[in-house]
């Protein structure tokens, strides 16, 4: 084997090894007339992440570089009927809170947030890149979503409604593009109603070595006037291993009026 060819073969083998070792790879167009498959490495986003500048329950970190803070979040562009439904719910929450009798919600019963709320990373999250799959684990409620890579998205009728839906992903250059369908209508993000036709599109990319942006666009022809886009920014946590989170003894409960209560040990 000529030296040059041997070098090329070594590089290809190395990249394949990189792909198989969990770093991930994307297919590049095979050179014309050749039946070899050239694999290019993809960005390494494996590891623990926390919301940028979001330090609840974490030791104070350096102030985030404003250049990496995403655009301010926007309100959902709901159609009038659904906008009214959301506003009424938010008003009811405010009034109940003001009375000191907050309304119970899914969290009262330790039901996890589902998509897309889990991506707000209230607690840290972990991304794992493996062959054919990117897995995202949220520490809060030990939520797990699986992004199936380089496979066609299913037809909506073939996906049963669930908390995390069915996610199909692919690398477009340096951006991980994810399409998610099949979120249960009861799984609500920021009290926003949605239909079975909701589709969540994500564009996940490193904007700096240790800063990840996730631009999320929600489409729903039933409830939204137009797509709703917002971005979360995350900061790498090189030394952090996710902790377990089990709702082992949930002492919050909903009373008959749907209000959140706390079980106390010895009522006087």
């Amino acid at each position: 084997m000529p030296v040059q060819l041997r070098v090329v073969a070594a590089i290809v083998c190395g990249l394949v090894a990189l792909a198989e070792s969990g770093t991930g790879a994307q297919r590049a167009a095979a050179p014309e007339g050749r039946d070899v498959q050239v694999l290019r490495p993809v960005p390494d986003i494996t590891g623990s992440w926390q919301r940028l500048g979001f330090t609840v329950g974490l030791r104070a970190t350096e102030k985030p570089n404003p250049a990496f803070l995403p655009p301010a979040a926007s309100q959902p562009p709901l159609k009038p009927q659904y906008l009214q439904e959301r506003q009424q719910r938010l008003q009811a929450i405010r009034e109940a809170d003001a009375k000191g009798q907050p309304l119970a919600n899914h969290n009262t019963a330790c039901i996890p947030d589902g998509m897309p709320a889990m991506m707000n990373a209230v607690f840290p999250m972990e991304i794992l890149q493996s062959r054919g799959q990117v897995t995202i684990i949220a520490e809060a409620y030990t939520q797990v979503r699986r992004i199936l890579m380089d496979r066609p998205q299913k037809a909506p009728g073939d996906v049963e409604p669930s908390f995390y839906g069915h996610s199909a992903g692919r690398w477009e250059g340096d951006t991980l593009v994810v399409d998610t369908i099949g979120i249960k209508e009861t799984v609500r993000f920021q009290n926003t109603p949605h239909s079975a036709e909701m589709r969540i599109r994500e564009r996940i990319r490193l904007v700096a070595a240790d800063i990840l942006w996730n631009e999320i666009t929600i489409e729903d022809p039933v409830t939204l006037e137009k797509p709703w886009t917002f971005t979360y920014a995350y900061q790498r946590m090189p030394d952090y291993t996710l902790l377990e989170y089990i709702c082992e003894d949930n002492r919050e409960y909903a009373d008959e009026q749907g209000r959140q209560q706390i079980r106390i040990e010895k009522p006087n």
């Binding site: 809170d97 920021q190 003894d249 002492r251 106390i264």
Partner: protein, 141 residues
């Protein structure tokens, strides 16, 4: 007592802030707790519940008339606490601790942990989101 209206206003503002801030930050709303006053309790721990979604310090407090009143003091998630340096063995049954807590508005003997002083005098951060929105009441001697 002259400060009462101002305290109320501060409390209402805090509630507003909390209402906006917390649904995204916490397992549950903190609106069940009184944001206008705190209790300082010195007592003996009967149990330190190290669980999610919240932990609890169960506390027996001897009152001025000699009777013992039991309090359930809720903490934040033990995950937040661990990130702040808490460990499950820091408090155990029999320990004498001092806690500052925001009491339940409904009068039940429970509260939200805002400060704790361990038997060795060490204080721990509670990890409660928006802990500074709770108006503190100085300890009654």
């Amino acid at each position: 007592m002259m400060l009462r209206p101002r305290t109320r206003l501060a409390g209402s503002l805090s509630l507003l802030l909390v209402a906006f801030a917390l649904p995204a930050l916490a397992h549950h709303s903190f609106a069940v707790f009184d944001h206008t006053r705190t209790l300082t309790l010195r007592g003996t721990v009967t149990r330190f519940q190290w669980t999610n979604p919240h932990g609890f310090i169960e506390l027996d407090v001897t009152q001025s008339d000699g009777t013992v009143k039991h309090w359930s003091i809720e903490t934040t998630s033990i995950n937040m606490m661990q990130r702040l340096g808490w460990r499950s063995n820091m408090i155990k049954a029999g320990d004498k601790v001092k806690v500052v807590a925001a009491p339940l508005l409904n009068g039940d003997p429970a509260g939200l942990l805002l400060e704790v002083t361990l038997p060795d005098g060490k204080t721990m951060e509670p990890g409660v989101p928006a802990a500074n929105t709770f108006a503190r009441t100085p300890e009654q001697e």
